[in-house]
């Protein structure tokens, strides 16, 4: 039993380290990528894979007391809501760029 608990803790530790590394890479991408549509790709990595890793780590850790339902609900909620936010932001960006082009062709700050 203790061997099993140690093994589960090792898996959870690896998943947590992967989640932290993904978050750092996404933050660097958000900071360094040149265009907005390229920058949109970076946080999606955290909202999908990074959150899956952290939630799986806590599901594995709390497996005895709580059967992982609530952690799964968090991840499924994020998986449902992240594309909605992304599509709305992309549409708003296209709309604003087109409106700026129509009103003032010289301004490309958007």
């Amino acid at each position: 039993m203790t061997d099993l608990a140690t093994f589960a803790d090792a898996i959870a530790a690896v998943l947590l380290l992967a989640s932290g590394a993904l978050s750092l890479v996404a933050a660097l991408g958000l900071l360094r990528l040149p265009d907005f549509f390229q920058r949109m790709h970076a946080p999606a990595m955290v909202t999908t894979l990074g959150t899956w890793c952290a939630a799986l780590a806590s599901i594995i850790h709390f497996w005895v007391t709580d059967f992982g339902l609530r952690g799964t609900v968090v991840v499924i909620l994020l998986g449902l809501t992240a594309p909605v936010t992304t599509v709305m932001l992309a549409r708003a960006t296209l709309f604003r760029r087109r409106a700026a082009e129509v009103s003032d062709p010289g301004e490309t700050g958007l």
Partner: protein
């Protein structure tokens, strides 16, 4: 809790905190308004991950509800701001 797990808990918390700090310039300067919204959404997700990891560290499943609420509020605020950029009003 094994030493490996406690070490990786602290490492993951540090990674999330550094990621939030790295996203702050994009939030404060960001060239356009949509960059700021993207950075705010990223910071909300990272704060939710911090709460999830703190739940493991404090050995309490009550943190799942807090993480769920933070994810929900982050989604609602980001979508409302994107809708505002698109239409000029949130509810029409």
């Amino acid at each position: 809790m094994t030493p490996l797990l406690s070490f990786s808990l602290v490492a993951a918390l540090l990674c999330f905190a550094v990621a939030i700090v790295l996203a702050l310039p994009r939030l404060l300067r960001g060239p356009a308004a949509q960059d700021r919204i993207l950075a705010l959404d990223f910071i909300a997700v990272n704060a939710m991950l911090i709460v999830l990891v703190l739940g493991i560290r404090h050995a309490s499943t009550m943190y799942f509800e807090a993480a769920l609420l933070m994810a929900l509020f982050g989604f609602v605020s980001a979508t409302a701001m994107a809708k505002f950029l698109f239409r000029g009003e949130v509810i029409e």
